[in-house]
Amino acid sequence: MRWQFHEQMHTIRRVEETLLELFSKGLLFGTVHTCIGQEAVAVGVVNALDREQDVIWSNHRGHGHFLAYSDDVDGLIAEVMGRATGVCGGIGGTQHLHTRNFYTNGVLGGTVPCAVGAAFAEKARGAGAISTVFMGDGALGEGVVYESMNIAALWELPVLFVLEHNGYAQSTPTSLEHAGDLATRAATFGIECAQLRADDVEKVYAAAQKAVAVVRGESRPYFLVLHTDRLMPHSKGDDTRSAAELADLRARDPLPKLRSRLVAEDESRMAALESQIEARLTAAVAAATAAPFGKAGAKH
Amino acid sequence: MLRPNTQPPDHMTTFIHAPLINVNDDDMTLIEWTKPAGTRVRKGEVIAVIETTKSTADLEAGADGFLTPLAEPGETIRVGQVIGALTENLSDPVTPPPQPEKGATHFQSASHLPNRWTKKAEILAKRHGLDIAALEISPADGETIGEGDLLGYLESARVTPPDEPRSPLDNTGGRERVLIIGAGGAGVQILDVLTRIPFQVAVGVLDDNPALHGKTVLGAPVLGGIDQAARLLAEEAFDAAIISIGTRTALRAEIFERLRAAGVPFTNVIDPRAAILTGAVLGVGNAVMPFVQIAAAAQVGDNNFFSAFVDIEHHNVVGSHCTFGPGVMTSGGVRIGSRVKFGAGVFVEPLLSIGDECVVASGVALTRSVPARSVVKAKANFVVRTAGE
């Protein structure tokens, strides 16, 4: 399990790093919001879900969730490079991804009622599927999030709210964004909540499994707060944190820690794994670079 | 619980009005009377049930009295409508006040039907420049003048459609009939100016080119050579003449003298958009094109041709038989002789004099006087390079 988790997390990390390189070369469009440092959230939670039927709503910082769900490295890189072979034909780009039961959108907060609506739909369908929505701490500034939590609790809907709390809303620290405590906001709606640090992907996985069991088994919402660190800027070139603070955060990065443990188990397996991931990346970038751009549906 | 609007019982009969229950409904349904006709009810008792789109409501009696229902169960009633009465005595007669009109939305139409005419007929008349109130038309239905009546009238009166331009030959009496000498470009200019002058009308053109005889210029017939002028004068076919010829001063002068000797009167043709200022004086036979200014106290002789945008400034004196191209600008106090020919775009400084029979070429900015029979040319200051040469 640990190896599987690491493979997924490392893939996410390398894809994000590759995208940042491509950005510096001017090969991407718009900006990218990377989730470097937060991979354990995506991998820990998504593996606890049913990839066949569960619905996932993510946000502008959704590459990690997307890859944990679909493993579509080619589709993601091509999409962010605006190609027709991208997962959305190159039209939506980084913030507007969709594949099977996975959706994202770029305007903060509005994904939450969509996810609650999806939960309503799945409950009506009666096949046992649930809906999960990933939010950042910044999203809790938007009123519609609270409207949605209220309705989710009132109507007993199977939705898992995952708060990816990295202490920053774009450039503003939590202390200047939010009064009171974030985790207990859900409690006031009667929604069960739990919180932990997302340093260890296996702990995240366990917490997610527990949450999913409640949501699926009892058809009621759950609010899971995962404290994590965003190691790179909000988007590109807009990091105002001090070098010292960033150094601190890097020291806490869970990915190298897990890697060390696994290398101790089997070094050659790690080497093979990592070179395989590199090969995937290289191929994906080459394929995307060669592909034509997407076609807009414009009417003039 | 609803209390209807009731009148103070001045004849001891209280009328029951359908109340306003909610803002969305003008109409509602009377479901039933909860008390039979003739019952003596007390103020505050429920006497009817009314339904709107939003809810059902009970109607209470606003006073004591014997109930006379005036609306039927199931009937649609309107807010304010009288639906019943409460009388002091059982046998009191009930005369309900006049009811508000039911049905489609009211509006105050701008039409005044029944009237002598329909709006359509009025509009059509206006399009033809007519006031329908002033027309004598018998409507086909004996009552209202309609579109058909008006169209019939227009046809029989042969009113010209308003869109056609007024012909220069359209003489409806009282206008000076002008004969134009010369069918060239200047002749066309004069004919055009005449379409804008309400008190003059062109009756024809004379030109010595036989190929033009019998043809028309801007609708005006070319009646023959210039020698026809005397005959036409004898036939009283025109009132006065004007010479068009725009540049050849000697020819202008010669024709003018010849025709004047034959007794032909001459007239000025001045475009309404030219400005003749205070105290300016002109002779006869002058052709003044649009946007010319003959400024204050200027004096102009006879038989001159002024192209558009010529400025004869104040206190100028201009002789006779001169021709001015477009845009000749004098300054104050300039004296111009006779038979002087100007090109286009000439400037003349103040108080200069230009003698008889001079020629001043286009583009000259004259800064000194010139004696008679001089030719003034501007030094060329441009180069023309044509592709391929």
């Binding site: 619905v55 959305c88 034909g89 039209i91 939506g92 507007h96 969709h98 594949t99 959706y103 959108n105 770029g106 305007v107 509005g110 939450v112 009622p113 969509c114 996810a115 609650v116 609506g117 999806a118 939960a119 309503f120 739909a121 799945e122 009506a124 369908r125 809906s131 009123g143 519609v144 409207e147 949605s148 209220n150 309705i151 009132l154 109507w155 997407g294 549906g297 | 803002v23 969305n24 409904d25 349904t29 339904e51 789109t53 939003k54 489609a104 939305t105 509006f107 105050q108 139409s109 701008a110 039409s111 039907l113 329909t118 709006k119 359509k120 007929a121 509009i123 206006k126 399009r127 579109e147």
Partner: protein
């Protein structure tokens, strides 16, 4: 409870259609504020439905953004949600969900995702509700691609159109009902033009023979001002071809041009404010095609560019009216 008339009111048509949809299509869900029976909604359009289908007709908290957002989530998952906003003026609260979510998914996701969300709401003045309860705010969404705006008039069958949309639309719909239309008997019989995607354009003539003098174009509640005017104009021998599209966006330009070409004299009437309104778009479209065949510039009559007061005499000064339309027609013809 409905009067047992042979003819149907606008409201009854909608209520019946919703009832039939709930009965025949499990994917249909209906949400809105205060839908609980016996209250049955502020304008009673859903009266009786909550009691009949309590799992699928739900009364919601006062959360316009969330309920439209839930509708988006539902629609993406293959359901047919119909979300009611109590007053069209409140659509502003759901604007993000309509503009950045509903109108984007189909085009942005690019894999055939369809978002058949329908948001129903009453718009319009004439009831003295005042500046924030009387507007025609559908105009906020003009020019947002992929968001359909449908506004059936007095001459349409709103229930039939709603049913057709629920069954066939791939794009989200803002379905505009005019408050004053609810109690009116609809008149859906007669000539139509095809409109767009099965939502027809109605043609009403106030004459039997001859050619029309003027073309009137309007949608939704504006039809109420035109209805009493038609016989009055007929008596004045002014022959009117009135053209009522129900599809407001996209605009069925072919239909409007066809109606305009019959006369070359066009008056567009709308209840929204004049500046940057629907009439401006329609006029530009008509002029682009009929340039040279119009006898006068396309005229527009709309609400004044100000707020809508509550008191009736003041409201009348701001909004169009049959009197104003009548005078505008005379002016256009002269």
């Amino acid at each position: 409870m409905l009067r047992p008339n042979i003819m149907t009111t606008y409201l009854a048509s909608l209520n019946t259609a919703l009832r039939n949809l709930l009965a025949t299509d499990d994917r249909v869900h209906l949400w809105g504020e205060d839908l609980l029976d016996p209250y049955g909604g502020a304008f009673k359009v859903t009266a009786g439905l909550q009691a009949a289908y309590p799992e699928r007709v739900r009364t919601t908290p006062i959360s316009e953004a969330a309920i439209v957002g839930l509708g988006n989530g539902m629609a993406l998952r293959g359901y047919r949600p119909i979300v009611e906003l109590m007053f069209g003026d409140f659509v502003t609260l759901a604007a993000d969900q309509l503009i950045n979510y509903a109108a984007k998914f189909g085009a942005m996701y690019h894999d055939g995702a369809s978002n058949p969300l329908i948001v129903r709401t009453p718009m319009g003045g004439g009831r003295g509700y005042g500046p924030t309860h009387s507007q025609s705010l559908e105009k906020l969404f003009f020019g947002i691609p992929h968001l359909r705006i449908i506004a059936p008039s007095l001459y349409h069958d709103p229930g039939a159109i709603l049913t057709h949309l629920v069954q066939t639309t791939r794009d989200p719909v803002l379905f505009v009902e005019h408050k004053l239309l609810y109690p009116k008997t609809i008149q859906p019989e007669g000539d139509s033009l095809p409109g767009l995607e099965g939502v027809p354009t109605r043609l009403i003539r106030n004459y039997k023979t001859g050619k029309p003098d003027v073309t009137l174009i309007a949608y939704g509640g504006a039809s109420l001002w035109i209805e009493p005017l038609l016989p009055r104009l007929a008596a004045e021998e002014i022959r009117v071809l009135a053209c009522f599209p129900a599809s407001v966006q996209p605009l069925p330009l072919d239909d409007l041009v066809q109606a305009a070409a019959e006369t070359g004299l066009v008056l567009i009437v709308e209840e929204g404010t004049r500046a940057h309104g629907w009439g401006a778009e329609a006029a530009a479209g008509i002029t682009e095609i009929l340039w040279g065949r119009l006898k006068a510039p396309v005229a527009r009559l709309a609400a004044a560019d100000t707020i809508i007061p509550s008191a009736k005499p003041l409201e009348t000064e701001v909004l169009p009216s049959p009197e104003r339309i009548e005078q505008a027609i005379y002016d256009l013809l002269s």
